[in-house]
Structure formats: C-alpha cells, structure tokens
C-alpha cells in the first residue's frame, strides 16, 4: 500500500520536474538564472572573491591610479587607485539589497490594496485606491523618486524609501486586474455562499490564484528597481561616495571620458548584466507559470 503522503510527495516531485523542464527548454532562461546566481554569489562572497576587498570603500593608492585594464587589475583602477572589479563585486551587494528591500516594502501593501480594490470593484474603496494609483502614475517614477530623494537627505536608505513610494501602484494595478476577474469565478461565489469570511475569500481564494503573476513581476522588477536605484545614485541623489554603488561609479567615471573609459564603462556594463539577468529569468518564469498578465 502506498501511503497518501508518499503519493502527494511523488506528485509534487513530478510537478517540479515538469516545471523545470518547461523552464529549461528555453536556453535564455538558463542564461538568466545563471547570471542571477553568479551575481548573487559575487555579492554575497564579495570579501572573499574580490581581488582587493579593501578597495570597496575609501582607499587610496596613487601609485596605481588610473591604470588601464591589465592582468593585475582586470577592469583597471580609478583615479585614486581602487580596483574597479572589486568595487563592482561590492556594488552588486548594494544593487541586490536595493532590489530586495524595495520589493519587500512594496509588494505587500500594493498587493493588498489591489486585492481589496478589485474585490470591491465599483464601490468607493475601488475609486479611492485606484484613483490614488492614477496620481502616482501620472509622473515618470524616476522623477518623483528623484524629487523625494532630494527633499530628504540623499543616501541609500532614503533612495529605497523613495523608490518604494513610487513602485506600489504597479502591484496594485496588476492584482486589481486579476482580482476583479477572479471575483466572479464560481469558486469565489461558492465560498461566499458558504459564508466564508472576507479574509478567507480575499487571501485564500483570490490571492492564491494571483501568485504566479506576482512572482513573475517580482523577478522582472528586481532588474528595474536596481536600474532606478542606479539612476538615482548616478545623479547624486542616491548612495553617496565612497559607497561602491554601480550608479555612483558610472557617474564618477563619466568625468574621465574618453581617456579613462574603463572607470565608467565596466560599472555600466555591470548594471546591464544585472538587469539582463533578472529580465531573462523573469521571462523564463512567465513562460513556465503561464502568467501572460504581467
């Protein structure tokens, strides 16, 4: 006799295998996943894998300043002699922290507001919540984030707050669209007839069916949030030097174009790499989960 538990776990294993098959059939998804894993690895173990970990913050070595890429300094050094490659590895840390913190601040309120607005579609709750998102979406998110950063003290923490304030409406809209169609599905209507609590209906019935699009959007958004964070610090309204932030590094390096091109170009390519990785991963997840709504 096979126990029910074993059956369930076998089923689960099969589902997992099938999902992995679907995901891995597209080579680009694998490239994305590998890129994300590589960047995460470099970020987490930056003090161990970076050739010169002490170059991450304020450090001066004028003897080796402005060296072009060579075997000792694969990406060259900046004008005070810091190894660009080491700084990029540490820069990944700030980028990933930015993405993770912003999304964990943004997703819960955005999702809950969208859920409520979608379920109570047509009532004043819907009007208030969705018209508020209209206001936030009436201006390019980068511009409002810049403005908020500028009135607060520019630093990494405030940059995260500013981006978070701009980002929740997207999740609100996504879940609103899903919830307003799901609410007339039979399983929701029957739960209502059975007298299930609103909490149960919102979170166990409706939210449970929005999970794939939300996760797909999260993985795509990691890239965009990192990008907007880099843009803030590029302008000088995000992380401040000597923090090894990729945007700050590009801004610093752009002063020394074209002769010392490596100071700006390698951090810029690092930003592209991170955003590309999360996008490929997100596209792969979308195909795997069938979340076309995102």
């Amino acid at each position: 006799m096979v126990s029910a538990k074993a059956l369930v776990s076998a089923q689960r294993r099969e589902d997992l295998q099938r999902s992995w098959y679907k995901f891995s059939r597209n080579r680009l998804s694998i490239v994305g996943l590998s890129t994300v894993l590589l960047v995460t690895f470099l970020a987490v173990f930056a003090p161990l894998v970076a050739p010169y970990p002490e170059h991450a913050s304020a450090f001066v070595d004028f003897a080796n300043a402005s060296r072009s890429p060579c075997p000792t300094y694969p990406f060259g050094t900046d004008v005070v002699g810091r190894d660009i490659m080491s700084r990029i590895f540490f820069g990944f840390r700030f980028s990933l922290v930015m993405g993770v913190v912003v999304l964990s601040l943004v997703v819960p309120p955005g999702v809950i507001l969208g859920l409520v607005a979608g379920y109570y579609q047509g009532t004043w709750l819907d009007t208030v919540i969705m018209r508020t998102t209209d206001i936030f979406l009436a201006v390019p998110p980068l511009v409002l984030a810049l403005a908020i950063c500028s009135v607060l003290t520019p630093n990494l923490f405030n940059a995260m707050i500013a981006v978070s304030l701009m980002w929740w409406p997207w999740y609100c809209r996504l879940v609103y669209g899903l919830a307003s169609t799901l609410r007339s599905e039979f399983f929701v209507v029957s739960a209502e007839l059975l007298g299930a609590s609103k909490f149960h209906i919102l979170f166990r019935e409706i939210l449970a069916n929005c999970v794939s699009p939300i996760f797909t959007k999260i993985s795509l958004d990691m890239g965009w949030v990192i990008l907007i964070g880099a843009s803030l610090s590029f302008v000088g309204l995000g992380a401040q030097p000597p923090t090894p932030d990729l945007g700050t590094m590009v801004a610093d390096g752009s002063k020394y174009l074209p002769d010392q091109w490596w100071i700006a170009v390698f951090p810029a390519l690092a930003i592209v790499l991170v955003v590309l990785g999360f996008n490929l991963l997100g596209d792969g997840l979308r195909d795997m989960l069938g979340a076309e709504e995102v």
């Binding site: 969705m130 018209r131 508020t132 209209d134 206001i135 936030f136 979406l137 009436a138 201006v139 390019p140 998110p141 980068l142 511009v143 409002l144 810049l146 403005a147 908020i148 950063c149 500028s150 009135v151 607060l152 809209r173 609103y176 669209g177 890239g223 990008l227 880099a230 843009s231 590029f234 302008v235 000088g236 309204l237 590009v250 752009s254 174009l257 074209p258 091109w261 700006a264 170009v265 810029a268 390519l269 930003i271 592209v272 955003v275 590309l276 996008n279």
Partner: protein, 342 residues
Amino acid sequence: MRFAAFLGRRAVHSIFVLLGLSILIFIIARIMPGDPARMAVGARAPQWVVDNLREQMHLTEPLYMQYLYWLRDALRGDFGISLVTRRPVAADIKEFFPATLELALFAGIINGAGGIMLGAISAWQKDKWVDNVVRVISYLGVVTPSFVFAILFLLLFGMTLNWAPTMGRLSQEIARPATVTGLLTIDCLLARNPAAFFDSIWHLILPAVALALGGMSQEARITRSTMADNLSKDYIASARSLGIPGSVIMRSFLLKPSLIPTVSILGLDFAATLGNAFLVELIFVWPGMSRYGINAMLRKDLNAISAVILILGVVFILTNIAVDVIVARLDPRIQLGAGRSE
C-alpha cells in the same frame, strides 16, 4: 458626439489626477525639515525679515490654506522664485521646457518609426537570421538604461570617432535664430537658415537616439509579436490565396491592425522618455527643463522642483489622451466610452 463625450470624460478625470498630483507635490515639498522662508533669504538674514516673509508666504496659516494659496498661484502660472537662478520659476520653465520637448519629441519619433520598422521586418522574416538579430538587439535595448547608452555614445561617436557633437543644442559659431516656438529646429526653418537647421538636428541625434533606444526596442518586440500573431490569421491567408503580393499585404492589411498595441505602449513609454531625459540631458549638457530640474533637486530648490513635476504631469496626461484618441481611430472596434481598462 460620442467622441466629444469621451474627451470630456477624459478631461474631467485628468483634472482630478492633476489635483491629486498637486497635493502629492505639496506634501513632498513640505516633508523637508526646515523653514522655507529662512531658506529663501539665507542664514544670515535678520529674524524680522524671515518673519515678514513667513507672513507673505502664508506660512503662518494652517496647512490646507497654504495649499490653496499655492494652488491658486500655480494656476495663475506663478510658481514663485527659484532659489538657484533667482528668477521666477515660470520664466525659467518657459526658457528650458522647449528644449526638453524638442528632445523628447525627436526621441519619440525615432522610437515609434524605428520600433515599428524593426518589428515589421522581424515579423516578416520570422525565425530567419534578420529576425534573430533584431530580437537580440531589442532585448539588449530594453535592459540597457538610457544613461548607459548616453555614456557609450558620448564615448564612441562623440569623443572617439568625432561623428556628432556632444554638448548643447547648437554650435557656437552659428547664430541662434529668433525664438518663435522655442523648438530650435522649427525656429531655424522659420528663419530660413538651413545651416543652423542641420546643425541643430546634428546636435539632437546622439541624445535623442540614446533616449529612444529603450522604447524603440520595446516597440519592436511588441510590433513583432502582434504582427506575427496577425500573420497567421485567416484573412491574411485568404489575401495570399487571391495572389495579392506580399508587400501589399504587409502595408495595407497587416500594418494598421498590428499597430494598436504599439501605439498604446508608445504613450506609456513617453513617461519613461521624459524620466530618462533627466539623465540624458545631464550627460549631453542639454539646456532643458530636466537638467534644470536636476539642478533644482540637488540644491533643494522646492519651487522649481514642484513646477517641473507638475509640468511633466500635464505633458504626460495630454500625451495619454492623444494616444487614446489615436488608438480609437486605428481600431474602430474600440468603444471610445469604454476607455482603456485599468
């Protein structure tokens, strides 16, 4: 008639959004610790000057009254004095806004034309090598931030190859034509000055392309996928079976219905273009509103910041209304009254 009602409804909705935006801006401007009156006159001014100014700026009244005063002035086009330029913000905006508009419009044209063309080629050559090349390029275009494009262009085409100028709107040796529209290219044409016209276009190219590439790639991807979908539809097969040449099918049967999603996204992308202009103008020393806005932000010039954001909001809302109208014209099935689903 239905069209007028649609426009009216959109206008009312937009007014509410703008009112909400003005409240949001007011709140942002008031988060900042410190006394706006003290900041306006400087740290060394005597206290009575500050007190007088507080009275004048209505800072002694309750917050909602302050907002109403601020709104009244903004509606009259009075955004106060800029702390940086020491001139009325409205005058600054009037001077700098056309440059940003010109850049964004130029980028928008490149974005739309280039994206549709690439997407169409890609769909027509689906799964051939041209398609694969276009797809790889457009993927890279989507994920590369415009300031990275700007820096790479500056380095490559501006400094190394010296193909195009990288600073400002016009070469120094060329006399600026009289300002009529503020859009330099148009002003040059109005002044019948072809040399200045080509020079101004030449200055526009690098920043505009850097600004457009991201959106263009997005457009190309969307056009490709809609066209590829439409290509497999029955009406195209029946047109083919009638012996209508491929190029005619492409132009007359396929392009128009495939453009609807592209145009919708074009409107949304305009927001990204305006936002990215903040970075691209900085890199190409473009004397536009965005560079003005960034400088205001770096120096906490609240009057200027508020005005810049509000103007951007107005521009963005007008663009979206225009996009809705175009989409409705392209697609007779769309009920104007329904608007876009949200």
